[in-house]
Amino acid sequence: MSAITHRYEFVFLFDVTNGNPNGDPDAGNLPRLDPETNKGLVTDVCLKRKIRNYVTLDKGDSEGFAIYMKEKAVLNNQHAIGRKAVGLEKETADELKKLPKDEAKARELTAWMCSNFFDIRTFGAVMTTGVNAGQVRGPVQLAFATSIDPVVPIEVSITRMAVTTQKEADEQSGDNRTMGRKHIIPYGLYRVHGFVSAKLAERTGFSAGDLGLLWQSLINMFEHDRSAARGEMASRKLFVFEHESAMGNAPAHKLFETVVVERLTADADGPARAFADYNVSVMRDALPSGVTLHELL
């Protein structure tokens, strides 16, 4: 597969109902908030994790789609049996210190990693090779996702009818009830912008097939990421701007401005509680020439 030859930008909308899309480790796992605007945030790395997990589920062990940054939960689906594994723990300290000083060798390593690992081909990776070729900048760049409106997290107290240890049971004299907390956002519609550079794709071999897989994972990633904390999350809209040329035909911000998400005025005095409370419009007339808009979802 040859690398893609067009530059792309995308606007991706997803929403959460009664769930926590991305907890903030600094705030006791409360949903992330922008302190200045009270809008919700979802970090770039949170979405990248979901893309990686989707690709693992979709592609399994097929060649060229291994994932370097793994979650163990997904590892359990792997049935890599009967092959000689190259365990990282078997590395001796000396071997780890040996860096390929030779640039050609480093390039070879990088190329091999790119052709075998989808996430390195897509997002890039840092290898400690000491030469520039060991750092891969991937073609796909994601920004932070921000909610359209301010969100109000709700703290929900829950009880558990069991305790963990005998000691706790003794302290409670057999009542055995503990309290827990969940943080949810009743509803939030989030918008995220992304960029795909054709020129960097050339260097990592990110192909049209990989791009299709990226769109697929954005559309479907929440379907395989259900959990007690997430509530209902769904991909709502994916607008892809395709430039005619590799360098691009228009500034990215001009393209993003053509996608307008606003509250429907009829009931805008109350809080939004569903995707139907929003209107997504695209100013197609304002699209610069040389850019095609694909509405993939």
Binding site: D34, M69, V126, P139, A143, F195, G248, N249, A252
Partner: protein
């Protein structure tokens, strides 16, 4: 300003990491010349030219925000890759992120806008086909159309930098009133000296009414 350019850049967030606070990242108050050069490079660069940042205009008040994220603690080791290549399998060559976790906070800038004033020199690698006019035209054409090699960013790739060219006769965007007066930003990274084994070099950054004058790369003010 014979072959200088002016580029207006803006974005939601930025993180120009201070080298002395890299683990829990803390951003400089303003864009470093090195980051500005990176933005110009992302739009147009060839080995034949080298960008020099002359002035950085800060347009928005300096505000910070803290973000904590789960990051991984280790990098790929080439040794492990060579082994996997020899064995022709990717089995075991991965990083288990939930066992190699580091939660790190980053103190980043919010709602930034700058104007980068810069020019470029031809380097020894320039051939007969490279001329100042040619590269200047390419840069201006791309910046005008919003073309870029890759989306420029403010320090880290998750903070994209939107850009537009400030044409020769166009008025400069005016800095926010809060930036009036003189401010000493302390020692700031100028750029990395790649010819001298990647030595960082620093300069004393003074902001006067939002404008940081960047001393030339080889002047005495720049220390490593």
């Amino acid at each position: 300003m014979a072959f200088g350019v002016r580029l207006h850049v803006w974005g939601e967030r930025a993180c120009f990491t201070r080298p002395e606070m890299k683990v829990e990242r803390v951003s400089y108050d303003a864009m470093t010349p090195s980051a500005a050069r990176g933005i110009l490079d992302a739009i147009h660069w060839k080995p034949a030219i080298r960008w020099h940042v002359d002035r950085i205009h800060v347009l928005k008040p300096i505000r910070f925000e803290s973000i904590r994220r789960n990051e991984v603690g280790s990098k790929l080791s080439p040794g492990a890759v060579s082994k996997a290549m020899k064995a022709a399998t990717t089995d075991g060559l991965w990083n288990l992120v939930d066992e190699d976790r580091q939660q790190r906070a980053a103190t980043v800038l919010r709602d930034v806008a700058y104007v980068i004033e810069a020019h470029f020199d031809l380097t020894p690698k320039a051939g007969d086909e490279d001329s100042v006019g040619k590269h200047l035209d390419i840069f201006n054409r791309r910046a005008r159309k919003g073309q870029c090699f890759q989306m420029p960013c403010f320090g880290v790739r998750e903070f994209p930098a939107h850009f537009s060219l400030v044409e020769g006769d166009e008025a400069m965007p005016q800095p926010d009133a809060a930036l009036t007066g003189a401010r000493d930003l302390g020692w700031m990274l100028h750029d990395i000296d790649f010819d001298q084994g990647n030595t960082p070099r620093f300069f004393r950054a003074h902001m006067q009414d939002g404008v940081i004058d960047v001393p030339p790369w080889h002047s005495d003010e720049v220390k490593s």
